[in-house]
């Protein structure tokens, strides 16, 4: 009896210690937005102004890299469009399509700070007639400079009067330093 009692745990231990795994699958990060590109096309023709923020390793790790291709021209109207990418995947996943599929649950907000003299208006709307902001118009006023912030909200209150009563969860909040000349 004594020997049997001892045998049982030893056998169990042997069984346990031979049970090994040696593989691990990589995660495809499906939801991360690594890159936002805002392309401003002058209505009267000319060079596009491209605002981009890119954080290839997602949140944490390295900081995002923010670039602005050039100044805006005073008095010009720009037709704006936004492309969102997840570049942790190869090929990169286009998140813009996901937003397009869920327009009712998303909205971009554009905030001009400092003395920056620009105005924005929405060019698109969701099924309920509320703005989304994947395409918009930006009008540059007098020569000035300041912060231009692009915010994407998930599940905001719609309709709203602007960012302050939109609520929701922030998916993107990026500030670009812009000059109008």
């Amino acid at each position: 009896m004594k020997k049997q009692i001892l045998l049982l745990p030893i056998l169990t231990l042997l069984f346990m210690f031979t049970n090994c795994t040696d593989d691990s699958d990589s995660v495809n990060e499906e939801e991360v937005i690594t890159t936002m590109t805002v392309t401003l096309t002058p209505v009267t023709g000319g060079t596009n102004v491209v605002l981009q923020t890119r954080d290839l390793d997602g949140e944490g790790g390295e900081d995002s890299v923010v670039t602005v291709s050039g100044p805006l021209t005073s008095g010009e109207s720009y037709s704006g469009s936004i492309v969102l990418l997840n570049e942790t995947e190869d090929p990169a996943e286009n998140i813009t399509e996901e937003i397009q599929g869920e327009k009712e649950e998303h909205q971009f907000f554009f905030v001009a700070g400092g003395n920056l003299d620009i105005t924005t208006s929405y060019d698109d709307e969701d099924m309920n007639g509320n703005p989304v902001g994947l395409s918009f118009t930006l009008t540059a006023g007098s020569a000035s400079d300041g912060n231009f912030t692009v915010i994407l909200k998930h599940e905001p209150t719609k309709p709203n009067t602007g960012i302050n009563d939109a609520g929701g969860i922030t998916d993107i909040e990026e500030t670009f330093v812009i000059t109008v000349q």
């Binding site: 390793d57 997602g58 790790g61 190869d90 915010i151």
Partner: protein, 799 residues
């Protein structure tokens, strides 16, 4: 007294040694389970028709026995099975008898002495009674433990309640469920213990690492949950509790039935159903705080005098909604949420559980067996298997909407073998433990995994001795060694890998490197020593002094080692460290216990010094597409915790009782000379209760709970630039909420419904004055008040 009798007997035997029938037999009668002395046991010597009784210390003596004669002896004791022995007299001799001590009254836990084994003899053990546990039927295990002094909780809302013992929680506490160490991702502050409070019959807290048989890493202490002992007799009994709560508009139905037979076989079946909708603070609905819980436990066993076996199975399943407004995407969201006096999302009451939420299933299966060998001691063997599946849902986009953001599966196998022998004044215990654990973090979530896949092996050996020097002094000492080996597969981001310089420190662990990440195979091992030394000194009949020093060693948990990413729930980036070593703690505790007829007092000061204590602190700001986040990094430091727990009970007269409880703990990071974060503030509970056994056993109690504001905390606030308002604001995550005072009223009455069954009707009002308050240790305190007034109706049927 005992010596006097012996001297007297010796004298008698000298005088009459020439005769044949002048021998005496003396000895003691003890409880087989814990060696406690049984007074009032009756020994009947059939042949000579003589009867003696054991004295108050369990001793008996019977004179005038004939040499070389065989006597048959029958021993009766009111709380034990009657036993028969045969005894051959070979002169004056001592002979000790052990009886199987069983529980008589089902509602009482202990009858005449100790039915349960002590977990640690030099540490005063605090216990939650079945009656108190039943009051927490609608709440959780964490809430029930919190009723003890020195124990508080870290909460995420009202559904996730984790115990804190003397300031420490999570990986620093061991939870034992029916002899099985819970393996339920307990490292997480947001992971509640997977034990149904309604399945627990007895709950003990050892505020020290001294109960080494369970493990050597309990820096804070050990919580032991077990079922009530089943008597060895023919009986069937059970209870059903139906509780309803107005706040949350839900309730609990729990039932258990036990059948036992005097041949030793017994079985218990128990189940619980719990359902709540959104709970309410004093002024608003806390949206998405509903809860569903389904639990089941089964026990089947055989309990004989010298052998026994038991199979136990427990299933725990809970789905908990997490306050909707606590999910923030960025620091701007968090500031907005904190600055708002009420949660940003307040919807109408609903039973539906939306995202964010947790869905956890825990299976526990255990078999154990013991055998007692004459003169050799008791050998027991246990094997248990646990399967824990944890799904955490977040608010997600697109196709991932219904995919959990975290999916962990943890399988654990453990074998234990223990050996125990009791001598008259020396008890010895030793054992070995082997454990294999596999953690699988499912990659289909599409979210960077918080903790990686790993295999973990534990091997432990311990031995504990308790030496009773005399009636006043008792010493105990124990040592334990644990070896922990982890074989891990972890993906690191290249950026983090390089920033930490891991490439140079750990080049051998790289399996493969891609453009963005590196797959590594860290193999970590830890050698942990732990030990305990203590004494118990009986100052006089009414007072006892306990002293214990326990050394605990804890290997870092997976989150401390491997965290690397954004923690959505609290909007911060958390980074672990692969090079951490084990924490080593030294806790010294005293307890003075005074127990009089009308006055009971325990005072328990302690000091706990922990080397290489793992803590987290903010180190910098990280810029992301969602704005700036604070980066919190784990760090090892030297910590010191000290405090005192006081319990007092005063019987004013036969009907009135006053109880008082005070818990103080202070914690410091001695390396940086800073207070530790999340230390429970000083709190005191005072209760006045009235009891009238003559009138339907009426009980009324009014409890006051006062929680002071925590005045010592590290300042982790930081300045955040808000692009929308173009202002810079301070994000205040440090300042604790103000003090608060709650009143709770409870009453109950018993109604005899038949000869064998009783109905107990209970009514309770928690937070009687509907006070709005926030608790420093509730992770949701930034977003919402705590629970408002709650009416509870409790129907308990004993049969």
């Amino acid at each position: 007294m005992r010596i006097l009798i012996r001297v007297a007997m010796l004298f008698i035997s000298f005088v009459s040694s020439s005769q044949n029938c002048n021998n005496y037999v003396s000895g003691k009668v003890t409880d087989l389970h814990d060696g406690s002395l049984l007074s009032g046991a009756t020994l009947v010597f059939n042949e000579i028709n003589k009867t003696v009784q054991t004295d108050i210390e369990g001793y008996y003596i019977i004179p005038d026995l004939c040499k070389d004669e065989v006597y048959s002896i029958k021993i009766f004791h009111p709380a034990c099975e009657t036993m028969r022995f045969r005894l051959k007299v070979s002169g004056n001799m001592t002979r000790d008898f052990k009886l199987e001590h069983h529980i008589e009254t089902l509602n009482e836990i202990i009858v005449n002495g100790k039915a349960y084994e002590e977990n640690s003899s030099s540490v005063f053990e605090n216990e939650v009674t079945t009656q108190t546990l039943e009051q927490f039927s609608t709440a959780s295990l964490g809430d029930a433990i919190k009723s003890l002094s020195g124990v508080s909780s870290i909460n995420k809302g009202n559904g996730i309640v984790k115990p804190i013992i003397n300031g420490l929680h999570s990986s620093r506490i061991i939870m034992i469920n029916n002899g099985v160490r819970m393996q339920d991702q307990e490292w997480g502050k947001e992971h509640a213990p997977n034990i149904d409070v309604n399945a627990v019959g007895r709950l003990t807290v050892v505020k020290s690492a001294s109960a080494l048989q369970y493990g050597g890493d309990a820096m804070g202490g050990i919580v032991i949950a077990e079922g009530l002992k089943v008597p060895v007799k023919d009986t069937i009994y059970g209870k059903t509790i139906l509780s309803g709560a107005l706040n949350g508009r839900g309730g609990v139905l729990t039932s258990q039935l036990t059948k036992s037979h005097k041949n030793g076989w017994y079985g218990t079946a128990q189940g619980t159903l719990k359902r709540f909708g959104d709970v309410e603070a004093a002024d608003y609905v806390m949206s998405n705080t509903g809860l569903i819980e389904k639990d089941l436990s089964l026990k089947l066993g055989l309990n004989r005098f010298n052998h026994g076996l038991e199979a136990y199975y427990a299933y725990y399943n809970t789905e908990i909604g997490i306050l909707r407004s606590s999910h923030v995407g960025s620091v701007s969201d968090q500031i907005r949420a904190i600055n708002s006096n009420i949660p940003l999302v307040v919807s109408d009451f609903t039973y539906d559980i939306d995202y964010p939420s947790q869905d956890v299933k825990h299976h526990l299966a255990r078999i154990k067996a013991f055998k007692k060998f004459n003169g050799f001691g008791k050998l027991s063997f246990q094997y248990d298997y646990q399967n824990n599946r944890r799904l955490e849902f977040d608010i997600r986009r697109g196709d991932d909407r219904n995919t959990p953001a975290l999916d962990l599966r943890l399988d654990t196998h453990t074998v234990l073998m223990d050996y125990k022998i009791d001598y008259e004044d020396f008890d010895f215990k030793a054992g070995i433990m082997g454990r294999f654990q596999n953690n699988f973090a499912n990659p289909y979530t599409g979210v960077r995994r918080l903790i990686p896949d790993y295999d973990k092996y534990d091997f432990g050996v311990y031995s504990i001795g308790v030496y009773k020097i005399n009636d006043k002094w008792q010493l105990d000492a124990g040592v334990r060694f644990d070896y922990v080996y982890m074989n891990v597969f972890k993906f690191y981001r290249n950026s983090f890998w390089e920033e930490r310089g891991y490439g140079a420190i750990f080049p051998e662990i790289v399996v493969e490197q891609t453009v963005s990440q590196v797959l590594t195979n860290p193999k970590l091992d830890f050698n942990n020593f732990s030990g305990t030394l203590g004494f118990k000194y009986k100052i006089n009949k009414n007072s006892t002094l306990f002293f214990n020093h326990a050394m605990a060693s804890r290997a870092p948990n997976p989150s401390e080692l491997f965290s690397e990413g954004l923690h959505h729930a609290i909007a911060r980036i958390e980074l672990g460290d692969l090079s951490f070593k084990s924490e080593v703690g030294h806790k010294t505790s005293f307890t003075y216990e005074l127990s009089n007829k009308n006055f009971n007092l325990t005072v328990n000061p302690f000091i706990n010094n922990i080397q290489d204590f793992i803590l987290m602190e903010p180190t910098r700001i990280s810029q992301t597409l969602r704005g700036n986040f604070q980066v919190w990094e784990y760090r090892q430091s030297n910590a010191q915790l000290m405090g005192v727990d006081v319990d007092a009970a005063y019987k004013v007269c036969n009907n009135f009782n006053i109880t008082h409880q005070l818990s103080i703990v202070k914690g410091y990071d001695r390396t940086r000379d800073l207070p530790l974060i999340n230390m429970p503030p000083v709190s005191t509970k005072n209760e006045i209760s009235y009891k009238n056994e003559g009138f339907k056993n009426l009980k009324i109690s009014l409890q006051s709970e006062y929680v002071f504001a925590q005045n010592e905390f590290p300042n982790n606030n930081f300045e955040v630039y808000l692009p929308v308002s173009e202002t810079t604001e301070e994000l205040d995550l440090s300042t604790p909420p103000p003090a608060y005072h709650l009143l709770n009223l409870n009453m109950s009455m018993d109604f005899k419904t038949s000869k064998k069954s009783t109905l107990i009707l209970g009514l309770g009002i928690a937070n009687l004055l509907n006070t709005s308050y926030r608790n420093y240790l509730n992770l949701l305190r930034f977003y919402s008040d705590d629970l408002g007034r709650n009416f509870l109706l409790n129907l308990k049927f004993n049969y």
